[in-house]
């Protein structure tokens, strides 16, 4: 069957945009328009869809409460290389920051001690430290967080991070251990160590490779991109909810592209070549 290729030939002559980026641009514009539309709705106070309940978020509240009861600290970590700020995984950092602020806020309010294991990336420390500060400030208890004692840094070895966390669980005890962000599988021993100490483990990542460690060891998990939704849900900020609504619509669009593309290719249009525009 002869494939129809006319779109491709026409567009390639345009010089205004880089060749091979037309689809990217079109999709980007749709993304942008949808986000702006929903953010606009949010700023005007129009109703937005509700985000479904995410069990792990409820568990954080319980876990912090338990920490106060049994007088053991809450541990939070982004993982050894979890705080990417200038690569594509930056979104996970941001999502985790939301959950960190939520946890820190709870700790400040209920009076639990928060131990924050800084990732191997010193370049992100100002951002992370700022998020914790902010949460404590909002609860009006800036003095409750002892930075000198509870901000931990372990150098650049990834495995050093896992064993240092395990060691910290032994030293300080652990009631609740939260690992959200761009995680790697090598944090696994730390999760098991927390479990041995009787802690509640909550974890999640959008980095698919590391998902299994949470499925095996955690009491509650954020599966894949649930962390983005969770990050939006905890803040109760309409802008955040709005962007989740935009995201849902993008998913419909991509499902449609997939199915339509399949049908059109089946009837003879060269969709894969079209994607090269």
């Amino acid at each position: 069957m002869k494939k129809i290729n006319f779109f491709y030939r026409n567009v390639i002559k345009m010089e205004i945009f880089k060749t091979g980026r037309m689809w990217d641009l079109a999709i980007f514009i749709v993304f942008f328009a949808l986000t702006v539309y929903y953010l606009d709705r949010a700023s005007k106070g129009k109703p937005l869809p509700k985000i479904r309940s995410i069990a792990a978020l409820e568990a954080i509240r319980e876990g912090v409460g338990r920490g106060v009861e049994i007088r053991k600290p809450v541990h939070y970590s982004f993982g050894p290389t979890g705080a990417v700020v200038s690569g594509a995984d930056v979104s996970q950092t941001v999502a985790s920051l939301g959950i960190l602020q939520y946890t820190a806020g709870l700790c400040a309010r209920l009076g639990a001690r928060l131990i924050f294991h800084l990732p191997n990336q010193p370049f992100a420390i100002p951002l992370l430290e700022g998020a914790v500060d902010e949460a404590y400030l909002q609860e009006g208890r800036t003095e409750a967080f002892d930075k000198q004692r509870d901000l931990r840094f372990y150098g650049t070895g990834s495995m050093v991070f896992a064993s240092a966390m395990a060691s910290s669980f032994m030293d300080d005890g652990v009631a609740l251990n939260i690992l959200v962000g761009r995680q790697t599988t090598i944090i696994y021993p730390a999760l098991e160590a927390a479990k041995i100490q009787g802690a509640i483990n909550i974890g999640g990542t959008a980095r698919w490779t590391a998902m299994y460690i949470f499925a095996l060891t955690c009491d509650y998990i954020f599966i894949g991109e649930e962390i983005y939704a969770a990050g939006a849900k905890v803040t109760d900020n309409p802008y955040m909810t709005a962007s989740i609504a935009a995201e849902e619509n993008m998913k419909y669009i991509f499902l449609a592209i997939l199915i339509l593309g399949l049908i059109l290719t089946a009837v003879g249009l060269d969709i894969p070549a079209l994607f090269k525009i």
Binding site: A166, E226, G261
Partner: protein, 211 residues
């Protein structure tokens, strides 16, 4: 064998055994060996950090490439985070990094992680050369749809969506299982490597075989 190599073998063996002792639970040796290695790791990071700032920023600036003063000063501005009063200054270098990050994320993922994936799903399905390839492609296609429905957040998972999301969970678990199995085999060879070291190099090579 040189004396420093012999000492090295002993130290390595001590480090390995102390770290392996995590499996029996809380103990002094694990905590001790961890601190030793943190000590090294922190200094390692610092030394390489200085080495690279020197090579990438300081030396070029000395040679007159003044354009690198900006990132170098921004890097130094990060340290204001350690003070209370000037902490906000560190938001500028942070802003630069985040700006670059967000800029990269919003455009670069569209092609490789979305469009190309859709393209491959279609091509695999329609261009399948054998019944086996077709079966795989169909499974991937079904997975693509059901797993996407699992990630709908604004709708409760009931009815048809619930069934689709349930099937999606099965695909998700399958993917998790394979990643885990791969990791399992990999970690197994890591343990094998350690045992090999302890038995072949340390026990036979040093203790029994003599130097």
């Amino acid at each position: 064998m040189l004396i420093q190599d012999q000492i090295g073998l002993v130290v390595s063996a001590i480090m390995i055994v102390s770290q392996l002792s995590l499996i029996v639970g809380d103990n002094f040796f694990f905590r001790w060996s961890t601190r030793v290695v943190i000590g090294f790791s922190v200094m390692h990071a610092l030394i390489w950090g200085i080495y690279w700032s020197n090579r990438y920023a300081v030396q070029p600036i000395m040679k007159g490439e003044l354009v690198w003063i900006i990132p170098f000063v921004l890097g130094l501005m990060m340290y204001t985070r350690l003070t209370k009063k000037w902490a906000w200054v560190s938001k500028y270098p942070m802003g630069l990094q985040l700006g670059v990050g967000f800029g990269v994320v919003v455009v670069s993922m569209i092609r490789s992680q979305i469009l190309d994936q859709i393209k491959m799903t279609i091509v695999d399905l329609l261009g399948a050369s054998s019944p086996y390839a077709l079966l795989n492609a169909v499974l991937v296609f079904i997975g693509s749809i059901t797993v996407t429905t699992f990630f709908f957040f604004t709708k409760e998972h009931t009815g048809l969506l619930g069934k689709s999301a349930y099937l999606g969970r099965a695909f998700i678990m399958c993917s998790i299982a394979v990643i885990w199995a791969g990791d399992y085999i990999w970690a197994m060879s890591m343990l094998a490597g350690q045992l090999q070291f302890l038995i072949r190099d340390f026990l036979f090579g040093l203790v029994l075989g003599g130097a």
